[in-house]
Amino acid sequence: MKLNLVGLLFGALFGGLLAGAQLHEYDTIHAMLRLAEPDVFLLMGSAIAVSAPLLYVLERRSMRTAFGGEFLLSRSKPQKHHYQGGALFGIGWAVAGTCPAPALVMVSSGALLGLVAIPGIFLGLHLNERMSGGSAVGDGEHRELTMADQ
């Protein structure tokens, strides 16, 4: 129950920040990818610059998280599917000018073509799941999602 509330809250804050920076607009992403303005690169870079050192420090002290057990970061070696998936993702990102989280915010903002993008993302994830024969968990470096408080 409480974890669901955490999910709702973090989703809302995440979506709100994306909307704040207009990341749900095709024009913003397109201007970034044709290297016309550096803002989104700086945005992503500063998000990593803030979070990476904090995660580094937190990793060094053993602590328990409220819902996810021991605080533990994950790292893995690049494999073939990472490069293949990344390459296809980049092409689709450039054409559709959006990615999974901003596509939802696109609809929030009243842009109806977001309703074309979202089913496409669902279909793509589903096709991959069927081809690879398993359900990909899929949030980058990931751990099991099963938790006590559900």
């Binding site: 973090f10 995440f14 095709y26 993702f89 989280a101 842009a111 980058g140």
Partner: protein, 159 residues
């Protein structure tokens, strides 16, 4: 509704804000602030699969609600429109719809195969110093910039 926020918050507000949000979710739930996993869990729930992380479905709904709060409540509110202004300046709507759908399918497929998208690998994985995430991020940045360049050349510089 209220016109409290500027049209676009600067990167040096949103970037560090996202960074802190990433750290907070790791501290509370030991989970990355991703997005494609929320799609996977939501689609699993709709197809009545077992073992769904329900909180990720709430998170999915939350992203939409957060967008509504900022674009419709805290800002003046935006009208219903098609979106994709720059793309629609170049292509007619009957071409934009399949382009968006095809592109979205491709990026969904790629995110599934790579195990993450811009947020999961690009932000959270990189912030965890994962070599796999760095590889995915470098790869998608490269192909995205190259694809945009190709689109620009094909449209004679209009896009």
């Amino acid at each position: 509704m209220y016109d409290l926020l500027p049209d676009r918050l600067p990167w040096f507000v949103v970037g560090p804000g996202l960074g802190l949000l990433i750290v907070a979710l790791f501290m509370i739930a030991n989970q990355p602030l991703g997005a494609s996993g929320a799609y996977t869990q939501t689609s699993g729930l709709l197809r009545r699969q077992q073992g769904i992380a329900i909180w990720r479905v709430w998170y999915f709904v939350g992203m939409f609600i957060g967008g509504v709060i900022v674009t419709q409540v805290l800002r003046e509110g935006s009208e219903v429109r098609s979106g994709y202004d720059a793309l629609r300046d170049v292509f007619p709507l009957w071409a934009v719809v399949p382009l968006v759908f095809g592109g979205a399918t491709l990026l969904g497929f790629g995110a599934g195969r790579a195990g993450g998208c811009t947020s999961g690998h690009g932000l959270c994985g990189t912030a965890q110093r994962s070599p796999a995430s760095a590889a995915v991020t470098a790869t998608f940045m490269t192909t995205a910039i190259a694809t945009t360049f190709v689109l620009r050349v094909v449209t004679g510089g209009d896009l």
